[in-house]
Amino acid sequence: MKRFIFQRLGLAVITVFLVCVIVFFLTHILPGDVAHQYLGKGATEADLKEFRRVFELDRPLLSQLFTWISHLLHGDLGQSMQYRHSVSSLLLPAIRYSSKLAAVAFFLIVPLSIAGGVVAAMNRGKKVDRAITVGGLSAAVIPEFVWAIFLVLIFGVIFRIFPVSAFPPKGERSILNQIWYLILPSLSLLLVLFGYIARITRAGVIEALDSDYMRTAVLKGLSRRKAVVKHVLRNALLPTIAVIASQVPYLIGGLIAVEIVFNYPGFGTILKGAVDARDYSVLQAGVVVSSLVIVSFQLIADILFAILNPRIRQKVSE
Protein backbone atom coordinates (compact mmCIF):
# COMPACT_ATOMS: atom_id res chain seq x y z
CA MET A 1 0.00 0.00 0.00
CA LYS A 2 2.75 2.41 0.99
CA ARG A 3 4.54 1.78 -2.26
CA PHE A 4 1.36 2.38 -4.20
CA ILE A 5 0.76 5.71 -2.48
CA PHE A 6 4.36 6.84 -3.06
CA GLN A 7 4.14 5.82 -6.69
CA ARG A 8 0.93 7.80 -7.20
CA LEU A 9 2.38 10.74 -5.30
CA GLY A 10 5.42 10.68 -7.57
CA LEU A 11 3.24 10.69 -10.68
CA ALA A 12 1.21 13.59 -9.27
CA VAL A 13 4.37 15.62 -8.64
CA ILE A 14 5.55 14.96 -12.19
CA THR A 15 2.18 16.02 -13.57
CA VAL A 16 2.18 19.30 -11.65
CA PHE A 17 5.77 19.96 -12.71
CA LEU A 18 4.83 19.40 -16.36
CA VAL A 19 1.85 21.73 -15.95
CA CYS A 20 4.23 24.42 -14.64
CA VAL A 21 6.54 23.95 -17.63
CA ILE A 22 3.67 23.99 -20.14
CA VAL A 23 2.16 27.10 -18.57
CA PHE A 24 5.49 28.87 -18.47
CA PHE A 25 6.30 28.24 -22.10
CA LEU A 26 2.76 29.01 -23.19
CA THR A 27 3.14 32.54 -21.84
CA HIS A 28 6.78 33.09 -22.81
CA ILE A 29 7.45 31.41 -26.10
CA LEU A 30 4.37 32.50 -27.97
CA PRO A 31 4.84 35.50 -30.28
CA GLY A 32 5.30 38.92 -28.70
CA ASP A 33 7.03 39.07 -25.32
CA VAL A 34 5.17 39.54 -22.06
CA ALA A 35 6.32 43.13 -21.53
CA HIS A 36 5.07 44.16 -24.99
CA GLN A 37 1.79 42.36 -24.49
CA TYR A 38 1.20 43.85 -21.07
CA LEU A 39 2.24 47.44 -21.72
CA GLY A 40 0.70 47.65 -25.19
CA LYS A 41 1.84 49.45 -28.32
CA GLY A 42 2.37 52.86 -26.73
CA ALA A 43 5.15 51.70 -24.40
CA THR A 44 8.58 53.30 -24.77
CA GLU A 45 11.83 51.34 -24.82
CA ALA A 46 12.59 52.60 -21.29
CA ASP A 47 9.20 51.43 -19.96
CA LEU A 48 9.74 48.01 -21.46
CA LYS A 49 13.21 47.78 -19.99
CA GLU A 50 12.03 48.81 -16.53
CA PHE A 51 9.10 46.39 -16.68
CA ARG A 52 11.35 43.52 -17.72
CA ARG A 53 13.75 44.37 -14.90
CA VAL A 54 11.02 44.46 -12.22
CA PHE A 55 9.50 41.15 -13.32
CA GLU A 56 12.90 39.60 -14.06
CA LEU A 57 12.02 39.06 -17.70
CA ASP A 58 15.47 40.13 -18.92
CA ARG A 59 17.19 36.89 -18.00
CA PRO A 60 17.47 33.74 -20.11
CA LEU A 61 14.20 31.77 -20.28
CA LEU A 62 15.48 28.64 -18.57
CA SER A 63 16.81 30.57 -15.61
CA GLN A 64 13.46 32.40 -15.38
CA LEU A 65 11.66 29.06 -15.38
CA PHE A 66 13.98 27.77 -12.70
CA THR A 67 13.50 30.80 -10.43
CA TRP A 68 9.75 30.76 -10.96
CA ILE A 69 9.45 27.10 -9.99
CA SER A 70 11.77 27.44 -7.00
CA HIS A 71 9.69 30.41 -5.83
CA LEU A 72 6.54 28.33 -6.26
CA LEU A 73 8.09 25.60 -4.14
CA HIS A 74 8.61 28.16 -1.40
CA GLY A 75 4.97 29.19 -1.64
CA ASP A 76 5.77 32.45 -3.42
CA LEU A 77 3.35 32.90 -6.30
CA GLY A 78 5.02 36.07 -7.59
CA GLN A 79 3.95 39.68 -8.07
CA SER A 80 0.75 40.74 -9.79
CA MET A 81 1.59 42.88 -12.84
CA GLN A 82 -1.67 44.72 -12.46
CA TYR A 83 -1.70 45.55 -8.74
CA ARG A 84 2.00 45.25 -7.98
CA HIS A 85 1.45 43.27 -4.85
CA SER A 86 1.79 39.59 -4.16
CA VAL A 87 -0.37 37.19 -6.14
CA SER A 88 -1.09 35.10 -3.05
CA SER A 89 -2.70 38.04 -1.22
CA LEU A 90 -4.98 38.31 -4.25
CA LEU A 91 -5.67 34.63 -4.79
CA LEU A 92 -6.01 33.35 -1.22
CA PRO A 93 -9.19 35.24 -0.20
CA ALA A 94 -10.70 34.51 -3.61
CA ILE A 95 -9.92 30.81 -3.25
CA ARG A 96 -11.61 30.87 0.15
CA TYR A 97 -14.79 32.21 -1.42
CA SER A 98 -14.61 29.73 -4.27
CA SER A 99 -14.12 26.83 -1.88
CA LYS A 100 -17.30 27.83 -0.08
CA LEU A 101 -19.20 27.74 -3.35
CA ALA A 102 -17.52 24.50 -4.39
CA ALA A 103 -18.32 22.91 -1.02
CA VAL A 104 -22.01 23.81 -1.20
CA ALA A 105 -22.11 22.59 -4.79
CA PHE A 106 -20.32 19.37 -3.87
CA PHE A 107 -22.77 18.58 -1.08
CA LEU A 108 -25.65 19.07 -3.50
CA ILE A 109 -24.10 17.33 -6.48
CA VAL A 110 -22.74 14.11 -5.00
CA PRO A 111 -25.79 12.76 -3.11
CA LEU A 112 -28.32 13.93 -5.71
CA SER A 113 -26.36 12.48 -8.64
CA ILE A 114 -25.75 9.17 -6.88
CA ALA A 115 -29.43 8.96 -5.93
CA GLY A 116 -30.35 9.73 -9.54
CA GLY A 117 -28.10 6.94 -10.77
CA VAL A 118 -29.49 4.42 -8.30
CA VAL A 119 -33.10 5.31 -9.18
CA ALA A 120 -32.30 4.98 -12.89
CA ALA A 121 -30.65 1.59 -12.38
CA MET A 122 -33.52 0.23 -10.28
CA ASN A 123 -35.94 1.25 -13.04
CA ARG A 124 -33.75 0.10 -15.89
CA GLY A 125 -35.37 0.59 -19.32
CA LYS A 126 -38.39 2.42 -17.92
CA LYS A 127 -39.30 6.03 -18.54
CA VAL A 128 -37.68 7.26 -15.32
CA ASP A 129 -34.42 5.70 -16.45
CA ARG A 130 -34.55 7.34 -19.90
CA ALA A 131 -35.44 10.68 -18.35
CA ILE A 132 -32.52 10.57 -15.94
CA THR A 133 -29.89 9.32 -18.39
CA VAL A 134 -30.85 11.25 -21.54
CA GLY A 135 -32.06 14.30 -19.63
CA GLY A 136 -29.00 14.29 -17.40
CA LEU A 137 -26.54 14.16 -20.26
CA SER A 138 -28.44 16.74 -22.28
CA ALA A 139 -28.34 19.07 -19.30
CA ALA A 140 -24.61 18.43 -19.02
CA VAL A 141 -23.81 19.88 -22.44
CA ILE A 142 -25.42 23.24 -21.72
CA PRO A 143 -22.80 25.65 -20.32
CA GLU A 144 -23.06 26.58 -16.64
CA PHE A 145 -23.56 30.25 -17.37
CA VAL A 146 -26.58 29.47 -19.56
CA TRP A 147 -28.07 27.38 -16.75
CA ALA A 148 -27.29 30.17 -14.33
CA ILE A 149 -29.24 32.58 -16.52
CA PHE A 150 -32.26 30.29 -16.78
CA LEU A 151 -32.21 29.67 -13.03
CA VAL A 152 -31.93 33.36 -12.16
CA LEU A 153 -34.73 34.18 -14.60
CA ILE A 154 -37.06 31.53 -13.22
CA PHE A 155 -36.28 31.47 -9.50
CA GLY A 156 -34.83 34.92 -9.02
CA VAL A 157 -36.73 37.26 -11.33
CA ILE A 158 -40.09 35.58 -12.01
CA PHE A 159 -40.81 33.66 -8.79
CA ARG A 160 -38.43 35.57 -6.50
CA ILE A 161 -37.64 32.50 -4.38
CA PHE A 162 -33.86 32.79 -4.41
CA PRO A 163 -31.62 35.87 -4.30
CA VAL A 164 -30.15 36.85 -7.69
CA SER A 165 -26.64 37.47 -6.38
CA ALA A 166 -24.39 34.94 -4.69
CA PHE A 167 -23.19 37.15 -1.90
CA PRO A 168 -25.37 38.39 0.97
CA PRO A 169 -25.17 42.12 1.82
CA LYS A 170 -23.16 43.23 4.86
CA GLY A 171 -24.71 42.34 8.19
CA GLU A 172 -26.57 39.31 6.83
CA ARG A 173 -23.62 37.00 6.49
CA SER A 174 -24.56 34.19 8.82
CA ILE A 175 -23.42 30.79 7.59
CA LEU A 176 -26.94 29.64 6.77
CA ASN A 177 -27.65 32.80 4.83
CA GLN A 178 -24.39 32.45 2.90
CA ILE A 179 -25.37 28.90 1.95
CA TRP A 180 -28.84 30.11 0.93
CA TYR A 181 -27.25 32.64 -1.44
CA LEU A 182 -25.03 29.93 -2.92
CA ILE A 183 -27.87 27.54 -3.81
CA LEU A 184 -28.64 28.93 -7.29
CA PRO A 185 -24.99 29.02 -8.41
CA SER A 186 -24.54 25.48 -7.05
CA LEU A 187 -27.61 24.30 -8.94
CA SER A 188 -26.13 25.52 -12.22
CA LEU A 189 -23.01 23.47 -11.47
CA LEU A 190 -25.18 20.50 -10.45
CA LEU A 191 -27.06 20.50 -13.74
CA VAL A 192 -23.80 20.22 -15.68
CA LEU A 193 -22.24 17.48 -13.54
CA PHE A 194 -25.33 15.41 -12.63
CA GLY A 195 -25.49 13.52 -15.93
CA TYR A 196 -21.96 12.08 -15.85
CA ILE A 197 -22.02 11.02 -12.22
CA ALA A 198 -25.55 9.57 -12.43
CA ARG A 199 -24.64 7.61 -15.55
CA ILE A 200 -21.58 5.98 -13.97
CA THR A 201 -23.45 5.22 -10.75
CA ARG A 202 -26.22 3.65 -12.82
CA ALA A 203 -23.74 1.44 -14.68
CA GLY A 204 -22.12 0.37 -11.40
CA VAL A 205 -25.45 -0.41 -9.73
CA ILE A 206 -26.67 -2.40 -12.73
CA GLU A 207 -23.50 -4.46 -12.77
CA ALA A 208 -23.85 -5.14 -9.07
CA LEU A 209 -27.56 -5.98 -9.38
CA ASP A 210 -26.69 -8.64 -11.97
CA SER A 211 -23.93 -10.16 -9.86
CA ASP A 212 -23.83 -13.52 -8.09
CA TYR A 213 -23.52 -12.03 -4.62
CA MET A 214 -26.70 -10.07 -5.19
CA ARG A 215 -28.54 -13.25 -6.17
CA THR A 216 -27.20 -14.92 -3.02
CA ALA A 217 -28.35 -11.99 -0.90
CA VAL A 218 -31.86 -12.13 -2.33
CA LEU A 219 -32.00 -15.93 -2.05
CA LYS A 220 -31.01 -15.83 1.60
CA GLY A 221 -34.08 -13.69 2.17
CA LEU A 222 -32.86 -10.10 2.12
CA SER A 223 -35.38 -7.64 0.67
CA ARG A 224 -34.33 -5.96 -2.56
CA ARG A 225 -34.04 -2.60 -0.89
CA LYS A 226 -31.91 -3.94 1.95
CA ALA A 227 -29.73 -5.89 -0.44
CA VAL A 228 -29.15 -2.78 -2.52
CA VAL A 229 -28.16 -0.70 0.48
CA LYS A 230 -25.98 -3.43 2.01
CA HIS A 231 -24.28 -4.96 -0.99
CA VAL A 232 -24.83 -3.04 -4.18
CA LEU A 233 -23.99 0.50 -3.13
CA ARG A 234 -20.63 -0.43 -1.64
CA ASN A 235 -19.52 -2.00 -4.90
CA ALA A 236 -21.24 0.40 -7.24
CA LEU A 237 -19.78 3.48 -5.61
CA LEU A 238 -16.23 2.55 -6.57
CA PRO A 239 -16.33 3.75 -10.17
CA THR A 240 -18.42 6.69 -9.01
CA ILE A 241 -15.60 7.94 -6.81
CA ALA A 242 -13.22 7.87 -9.76
CA VAL A 243 -15.69 9.79 -11.90
CA ILE A 244 -16.37 12.40 -9.26
CA ALA A 245 -12.63 13.04 -9.02
CA SER A 246 -12.36 13.25 -12.80
CA GLN A 247 -15.11 15.90 -12.80
CA VAL A 248 -13.15 18.27 -10.55
CA PRO A 249 -11.54 20.04 -13.54
CA TYR A 250 -15.00 20.72 -14.93
CA LEU A 251 -16.21 21.90 -11.56
CA ILE A 252 -13.33 24.40 -11.39
CA GLY A 253 -13.84 25.50 -15.00
CA GLY A 254 -17.54 25.91 -14.30
CA LEU A 255 -16.90 27.99 -11.20
CA ILE A 256 -15.37 30.74 -13.32
CA ALA A 257 -18.42 31.32 -15.49
CA VAL A 258 -20.89 30.91 -12.65
CA GLU A 259 -19.02 33.32 -10.37
CA ILE A 260 -19.13 35.96 -13.05
CA VAL A 261 -22.85 35.58 -13.68
CA PHE A 262 -23.54 35.89 -9.95
CA ASN A 263 -20.91 38.56 -9.39
CA TYR A 264 -19.20 36.44 -6.73
CA PRO A 265 -15.71 37.52 -5.63
CA GLY A 266 -14.01 34.13 -6.10
CA PHE A 267 -11.13 32.57 -7.99
CA GLY A 268 -12.94 32.81 -11.34
CA THR A 269 -13.60 36.51 -10.99
CA ILE A 270 -9.91 37.13 -10.21
CA LEU A 271 -8.87 35.02 -13.18
CA LYS A 272 -11.25 36.85 -15.50
CA GLY A 273 -9.86 40.17 -14.26
CA ALA A 274 -6.36 38.87 -14.93
CA VAL A 275 -7.32 37.87 -18.49
CA ASP A 276 -8.79 41.30 -19.18
CA ALA A 277 -5.71 43.06 -17.83
CA ARG A 278 -3.28 40.46 -19.24
CA ASP A 279 -1.87 39.98 -15.80
CA TYR A 280 0.30 36.98 -16.64
CA SER A 281 1.69 36.38 -13.17
CA VAL A 282 -1.83 35.99 -11.77
CA LEU A 283 -2.85 33.80 -14.71
CA GLN A 284 0.15 31.50 -14.40
CA ALA A 285 -0.30 31.16 -10.66
CA GLY A 286 -4.01 30.55 -11.16
CA VAL A 287 -3.41 27.70 -13.57
CA VAL A 288 -0.81 26.11 -11.31
CA VAL A 289 -3.04 26.36 -8.25
CA SER A 290 -6.04 24.89 -10.05
CA SER A 291 -4.01 22.02 -11.45
CA LEU A 292 -2.64 21.38 -7.96
CA VAL A 293 -6.20 21.09 -6.65
CA ILE A 294 -7.22 18.80 -9.50
CA VAL A 295 -4.21 16.53 -9.16
CA SER A 296 -4.71 16.27 -5.38
CA PHE A 297 -8.31 15.20 -5.85
CA GLN A 298 -7.21 12.65 -8.41
CA LEU A 299 -4.64 11.35 -5.95
CA ILE A 300 -7.16 11.11 -3.12
CA ALA A 301 -9.59 9.31 -5.42
CA ASP A 302 -6.91 6.84 -6.53
CA ILE A 303 -6.00 6.04 -2.94
CA LEU A 304 -9.63 5.77 -1.81
CA PHE A 305 -10.30 3.52 -4.77
CA ALA A 306 -7.45 1.26 -3.74
CA ILE A 307 -8.52 1.15 -0.10
CA LEU A 308 -12.15 0.37 -0.91
CA ASN A 309 -11.41 -2.20 -3.56
CA PRO A 310 -10.01 -5.37 -2.01
CA ARG A 311 -8.74 -6.65 -5.35
CA ILE A 312 -6.52 -3.61 -5.88
CA ARG A 313 -5.53 -3.59 -2.22
CA GLN A 314 -4.26 -7.13 -2.55
CA LYS A 315 -2.41 -6.47 -5.77
CA VAL A 316 -0.81 -3.40 -4.24
CA SER A 317 0.44 -5.21 -1.15
CA GLU A 318 1.96 -8.03 -3.18
Binding site: I22, G253, V275, R278, V295
Partner: protein, 294 residues
Protein backbone atom coordinates in the same frame (compact mmCIF):
# COMPACT_ATOMS: atom_id res chain seq x y z
CA UNK B 1 -14.78 1.28 -24.06
CA UNK B 2 -13.39 0.96 -27.56
CA UNK B 3 -11.39 -2.05 -26.41
CA UNK B 4 -14.54 -4.10 -26.05
CA UNK B 5 -15.79 -3.37 -29.55
CA UNK B 6 -12.41 -4.32 -30.87
CA UNK B 7 -12.54 -7.70 -29.18
CA UNK B 8 -16.16 -8.51 -29.99
CA UNK B 9 -15.74 -8.02 -33.70
CA UNK B 10 -12.07 -8.89 -33.74
CA UNK B 11 -12.50 -12.46 -34.90
CA UNK B 12 -14.66 -11.50 -37.83
CA UNK B 13 -13.29 -10.94 -41.28
CA UNK B 14 -12.92 -7.48 -42.71
CA UNK B 15 -15.84 -8.06 -45.05
CA UNK B 16 -18.15 -9.03 -42.20
CA UNK B 17 -17.07 -5.97 -40.28
CA UNK B 18 -17.98 -3.81 -43.24
CA UNK B 19 -21.52 -5.21 -43.35
CA UNK B 20 -21.91 -4.76 -39.59
CA UNK B 21 -20.90 -1.15 -39.97
CA UNK B 22 -23.35 -0.61 -42.82
CA UNK B 23 -26.21 -2.14 -40.83
CA UNK B 24 -25.45 0.09 -37.88
CA UNK B 25 -25.48 3.12 -40.12
CA UNK B 26 -29.00 2.14 -41.22
CA UNK B 27 -30.02 1.87 -37.57
CA UNK B 28 -28.65 5.34 -36.89
CA UNK B 29 -30.68 6.84 -39.72
CA UNK B 30 -33.85 5.34 -38.22
CA UNK B 31 -33.11 6.35 -34.62
CA UNK B 32 -35.50 8.98 -33.29
CA UNK B 33 -32.95 10.55 -30.95
CA UNK B 34 -30.51 10.95 -33.83
CA UNK B 35 -33.12 12.36 -36.21
CA UNK B 36 -34.36 14.89 -33.68
CA UNK B 37 -30.81 16.06 -32.95
CA UNK B 38 -29.95 16.18 -36.66
CA UNK B 39 -33.11 18.20 -37.33
CA UNK B 40 -32.19 20.92 -34.82
CA UNK B 41 -28.53 20.95 -35.86
CA UNK B 42 -29.65 21.17 -39.51
CA UNK B 43 -31.78 24.18 -38.64
CA UNK B 44 -28.77 25.99 -37.15
CA UNK B 45 -26.55 25.01 -40.08
CA UNK B 46 -29.09 26.48 -42.52
CA UNK B 47 -29.05 29.71 -40.49
CA UNK B 48 -25.26 29.63 -40.60
CA UNK B 49 -25.26 29.52 -44.38
CA UNK B 50 -28.30 31.64 -45.25
CA UNK B 51 -28.58 33.76 -42.09
CA UNK B 52 -27.72 37.01 -43.82
CA UNK B 53 -30.69 36.54 -46.17
CA UNK B 54 -33.10 35.44 -43.46
CA UNK B 55 -32.41 38.02 -40.76
CA UNK B 56 -34.99 40.84 -40.96
CA UNK B 57 -32.49 43.50 -39.81
CA UNK B 58 -28.73 44.02 -39.90
CA UNK B 59 -26.68 43.06 -36.86
CA UNK B 60 -25.78 46.66 -36.08
CA UNK B 61 -29.04 48.36 -37.16
CA UNK B 62 -30.31 50.57 -34.36
CA UNK B 63 -33.80 51.92 -33.93
CA UNK B 64 -33.81 54.42 -31.08
CA UNK B 65 -37.61 54.58 -31.01
CA UNK B 66 -37.50 50.96 -29.84
CA UNK B 67 -34.98 50.63 -27.03
CA UNK B 68 -35.32 47.54 -24.83
CA UNK B 69 -38.71 47.01 -26.44
CA UNK B 70 -40.45 43.77 -25.48
CA UNK B 71 -41.18 41.16 -28.18
CA UNK B 72 -43.80 42.46 -30.63
CA UNK B 73 -44.93 41.86 -34.20
CA UNK B 74 -42.29 44.29 -35.48
CA UNK B 75 -39.47 42.79 -33.41
CA UNK B 76 -40.39 39.17 -32.71
CA UNK B 77 -37.70 38.72 -30.05
CA UNK B 78 -37.76 42.36 -28.92
CA UNK B 79 -34.85 44.83 -29.04
CA UNK B 80 -31.83 45.31 -26.80
CA UNK B 81 -30.70 48.40 -24.89
CA UNK B 82 -29.08 49.75 -28.08
CA UNK B 83 -32.30 49.37 -30.07
CA UNK B 84 -30.98 46.41 -32.05
CA UNK B 85 -33.24 43.57 -33.17
CA UNK B 86 -32.58 40.54 -30.93
CA UNK B 87 -33.93 38.03 -33.49
CA UNK B 88 -31.55 39.26 -36.18
CA UNK B 89 -28.61 39.19 -33.81
CA UNK B 90 -29.43 35.64 -32.76
CA UNK B 91 -29.70 34.55 -36.42
CA UNK B 92 -26.48 36.32 -37.43
CA UNK B 93 -24.68 35.10 -34.32
CA UNK B 94 -25.14 31.48 -35.44
CA UNK B 95 -22.36 31.62 -37.98
CA UNK B 96 -19.53 32.39 -35.61
CA UNK B 97 -20.20 29.65 -33.06
CA UNK B 98 -21.10 26.96 -35.62
CA UNK B 99 -18.09 27.63 -37.85
CA UNK B 100 -15.73 27.94 -34.88
CA UNK B 101 -17.04 24.77 -33.21
CA UNK B 102 -16.76 22.68 -36.37
CA UNK B 103 -13.32 23.93 -37.36
CA UNK B 104 -11.81 23.49 -33.90
CA UNK B 105 -13.25 19.98 -33.60
CA UNK B 106 -12.01 19.01 -37.07
CA UNK B 107 -8.55 20.34 -36.19
CA UNK B 108 -8.51 18.48 -32.87
CA UNK B 109 -9.74 15.26 -34.50
CA UNK B 110 -7.12 15.31 -37.26
CA UNK B 111 -4.29 16.02 -34.81
CA UNK B 112 -5.65 13.64 -32.18
CA UNK B 113 -6.11 10.81 -34.67
CA UNK B 114 -2.54 11.19 -35.89
CA UNK B 115 -1.29 11.23 -32.32
CA UNK B 116 -3.41 8.21 -31.38
CA UNK B 117 -2.33 6.22 -34.46
CA UNK B 118 1.32 6.96 -33.76
CA UNK B 119 1.29 6.27 -30.01
CA UNK B 120 -0.95 3.21 -30.30
CA UNK B 121 1.09 1.65 -33.07
CA UNK B 122 4.65 2.45 -32.06
CA UNK B 123 4.13 2.10 -28.27
CA UNK B 124 7.36 2.09 -26.23
CA UNK B 125 9.08 5.17 -24.83
CA UNK B 126 7.48 7.55 -27.32
CA UNK B 127 4.04 6.42 -26.20
CA UNK B 128 4.99 6.80 -22.53
CA UNK B 129 6.29 10.34 -22.90
CA UNK B 130 3.34 11.50 -24.95
CA UNK B 131 0.87 9.98 -22.49
CA UNK B 132 2.54 11.78 -19.55
CA UNK B 133 2.20 15.08 -21.40
CA UNK B 134 -1.40 14.25 -22.22
CA UNK B 135 -2.12 13.64 -18.55
CA UNK B 136 -0.52 16.95 -17.58
CA UNK B 137 -2.67 18.82 -20.09
CA UNK B 138 -5.79 17.03 -18.86
CA UNK B 139 -5.00 18.28 -15.36
CA UNK B 140 -5.72 21.85 -16.43
CA UNK B 141 -9.37 22.77 -16.94
CA UNK B 142 -10.03 23.31 -20.67
CA UNK B 143 -11.49 26.71 -19.98
CA UNK B 144 -8.49 27.91 -17.97
CA UNK B 145 -5.92 26.69 -20.47
CA UNK B 146 -7.90 28.36 -23.26
CA UNK B 147 -8.14 31.61 -21.32
CA UNK B 148 -4.41 31.56 -20.63
CA UNK B 149 -3.47 30.86 -24.23
CA UNK B 150 -5.89 33.44 -25.57
CA UNK B 151 -4.58 36.07 -23.17
CA UNK B 152 -0.99 35.20 -24.05
CA UNK B 153 -1.70 35.47 -27.76
CA UNK B 154 -3.57 38.29 -29.41
CA UNK B 155 -6.79 38.18 -27.30
CA UNK B 156 -9.76 38.48 -29.60
CA UNK B 157 -9.10 36.50 -32.76
CA UNK B 158 -11.59 33.70 -33.54
CA UNK B 159 -8.99 31.87 -35.67
CA UNK B 160 -6.68 31.75 -32.71
CA UNK B 161 -9.42 30.47 -30.42
CA UNK B 162 -10.13 27.70 -32.93
CA UNK B 163 -6.47 26.69 -32.94
CA UNK B 164 -6.25 26.76 -29.14
CA UNK B 165 -9.38 24.63 -28.68
CA UNK B 166 -8.22 22.25 -31.40
CA UNK B 167 -4.91 21.79 -29.59
CA UNK B 168 -6.59 21.36 -26.22
CA UNK B 169 -8.80 18.60 -27.66
CA UNK B 170 -5.89 16.80 -29.32
CA UNK B 171 -4.68 14.82 -26.27
CA UNK B 172 -8.16 13.60 -25.33
CA UNK B 173 -9.01 12.48 -28.83
CA UNK B 174 -5.53 11.00 -29.09
CA UNK B 175 -6.17 8.91 -26.01
CA UNK B 176 -9.42 7.46 -27.41
CA UNK B 177 -7.86 6.68 -30.77
CA UNK B 178 -4.81 5.18 -29.09
CA UNK B 179 -6.98 2.75 -27.10
CA UNK B 180 -8.75 1.67 -30.27
CA UNK B 181 -5.49 1.32 -32.21
CA UNK B 182 -3.91 -0.75 -29.40
CA UNK B 183 -6.77 -3.24 -29.79
CA UNK B 184 -6.49 -3.29 -33.58
CA UNK B 185 -2.73 -3.63 -33.90
CA UNK B 186 -2.90 -7.05 -32.20
CA UNK B 187 -5.20 -8.38 -34.91
CA UNK B 188 -4.21 -10.69 -37.72
CA UNK B 189 -4.76 -8.32 -40.61
CA UNK B 190 -2.13 -5.98 -39.21
CA UNK B 191 0.34 -8.83 -38.82
CA UNK B 192 -0.52 -9.93 -42.36
CA UNK B 193 0.12 -6.47 -43.72
CA UNK B 194 3.46 -6.41 -41.91
CA UNK B 195 4.37 -9.75 -43.45
CA UNK B 196 3.52 -8.36 -46.88
CA UNK B 197 6.15 -5.72 -45.96
CA UNK B 198 3.64 -2.92 -46.48
CA UNK B 199 4.89 0.52 -45.60
CA UNK B 200 4.01 1.76 -42.11
CA UNK B 201 2.08 4.65 -43.63
CA UNK B 202 -0.05 2.18 -45.58
CA UNK B 203 -0.70 0.02 -42.50
CA UNK B 204 -1.66 3.03 -40.38
CA UNK B 205 -3.89 4.88 -42.80
CA UNK B 206 -5.22 2.15 -45.10
CA UNK B 207 -5.50 -0.83 -42.77
CA UNK B 208 -6.00 0.43 -39.22
CA UNK B 209 -7.66 3.82 -39.73
CA UNK B 210 -10.84 2.53 -41.47
CA UNK B 211 -11.36 0.07 -38.63
CA UNK B 212 -11.06 2.66 -35.88
CA UNK B 213 -13.31 5.12 -37.67
CA UNK B 214 -16.47 4.47 -35.56
CA UNK B 215 -14.89 5.54 -32.24
CA UNK B 216 -13.34 8.53 -34.02
CA UNK B 217 -16.71 9.63 -35.37
CA UNK B 218 -18.36 9.28 -31.99
CA UNK B 219 -15.48 11.14 -30.35
CA UNK B 220 -15.88 13.87 -32.96
CA UNK B 221 -19.53 14.44 -32.06
CA UNK B 222 -18.77 14.39 -28.34
CA UNK B 223 -15.98 16.95 -28.80
CA UNK B 224 -18.20 19.08 -31.02
CA UNK B 225 -20.52 19.40 -28.03
CA UNK B 226 -17.61 20.41 -25.80
CA UNK B 227 -16.43 22.91 -28.41
CA UNK B 228 -19.83 24.61 -28.43
CA UNK B 229 -19.72 24.62 -24.63
CA UNK B 230 -16.23 26.13 -24.56
CA UNK B 231 -16.75 28.71 -27.31
CA UNK B 232 -20.02 29.91 -25.81
CA UNK B 233 -18.38 30.26 -22.40
CA UNK B 234 -15.26 31.97 -23.75
CA UNK B 235 -17.27 34.48 -25.76
CA UNK B 236 -19.41 35.11 -22.67
CA UNK B 237 -16.18 35.86 -20.77
CA UNK B 238 -15.15 38.24 -23.54
CA UNK B 239 -12.27 36.12 -24.83
CA UNK B 240 -11.70 34.78 -28.29
CA UNK B 241 -14.24 36.77 -30.29
CA UNK B 242 -14.07 40.20 -31.82
CA UNK B 243 -15.60 43.02 -29.86
CA UNK B 244 -19.11 43.92 -31.01
CA UNK B 245 -19.43 41.03 -33.47
CA UNK B 246 -22.86 39.37 -33.28
CA UNK B 247 -22.40 36.24 -31.19
CA UNK B 248 -24.52 34.60 -28.55
CA UNK B 249 -22.04 34.68 -25.69
CA UNK B 250 -21.28 38.40 -25.97
CA UNK B 251 -24.96 39.13 -26.49
CA UNK B 252 -25.65 37.54 -23.13
CA UNK B 253 -22.84 39.28 -21.28
CA UNK B 254 -23.79 42.66 -22.76
CA UNK B 255 -27.45 42.39 -21.78
CA UNK B 256 -27.19 40.35 -18.62
CA UNK B 257 -27.40 43.37 -16.31
CA UNK B 258 -30.84 44.35 -17.62
CA UNK B 259 -32.40 41.09 -16.56
CA UNK B 260 -33.10 42.53 -13.12
CA UNK B 261 -35.29 45.25 -14.60
CA UNK B 262 -37.28 42.46 -16.28
CA UNK B 263 -35.71 42.99 -19.72
CA UNK B 264 -35.17 39.27 -20.20
CA UNK B 265 -35.46 38.88 -23.98
CA UNK B 266 -31.99 40.04 -25.11
CA UNK B 267 -30.48 37.47 -22.71
CA UNK B 268 -32.96 34.59 -22.79
CA UNK B 269 -33.13 34.10 -26.59
CA UNK B 270 -29.39 33.71 -27.21
CA UNK B 271 -29.25 31.49 -24.08
CA UNK B 272 -31.95 29.27 -25.59
CA UNK B 273 -30.04 29.23 -28.86
CA UNK B 274 -26.87 27.99 -27.13
CA UNK B 275 -28.85 25.38 -25.19
CA UNK B 276 -30.64 24.01 -28.27
CA UNK B 277 -27.45 23.85 -30.35
CA UNK B 278 -25.58 22.05 -27.57
CA UNK B 279 -28.41 19.61 -26.91
CA UNK B 280 -28.84 18.80 -30.61
CA UNK B 281 -25.20 17.74 -30.88
CA UNK B 282 -25.52 15.72 -27.68
CA UNK B 283 -28.57 13.85 -29.00
CA UNK B 284 -26.58 12.90 -32.10
CA UNK B 285 -23.57 11.67 -30.14
CA UNK B 286 -25.80 9.86 -27.64
CA UNK B 287 -27.53 7.94 -30.38
CA UNK B 288 -24.22 7.06 -32.08
CA UNK B 289 -22.74 5.94 -28.76
CA UNK B 290 -25.66 3.63 -28.14
CA UNK B 291 -25.81 2.12 -31.62
CA UNK B 292 -22.08 1.62 -32.03
CA UNK B 293 -22.01 0.11 -28.51
CA UNK B 294 -19.05 2.16 -27.44
Amino acid sequence: MSDTTATTIANKSNLERKTIRRERLKLVLKDKTFLFGAFILGFWIILTIFGTFIAPHGAGDQDFKFVSHSPSSKFLFGTDANGRDVLSRVILGTRLIVVMAFSSTILGTVLGTSLGLATGYFKGKFDMIVMRLVEAISAIPVLIIALLAIAALEGRSPTLTVIVIGFVFTPNIGRTVRAAVLGESELEYVAAARLRTERTRHILFREILPNVLPPIIVEFTVRLGYAIFAIATLSFLGAGVEYGSPNWGSQISENWGNIYSNVWWPTAFPALAIASLAVSVNLISDSLLEIFEL
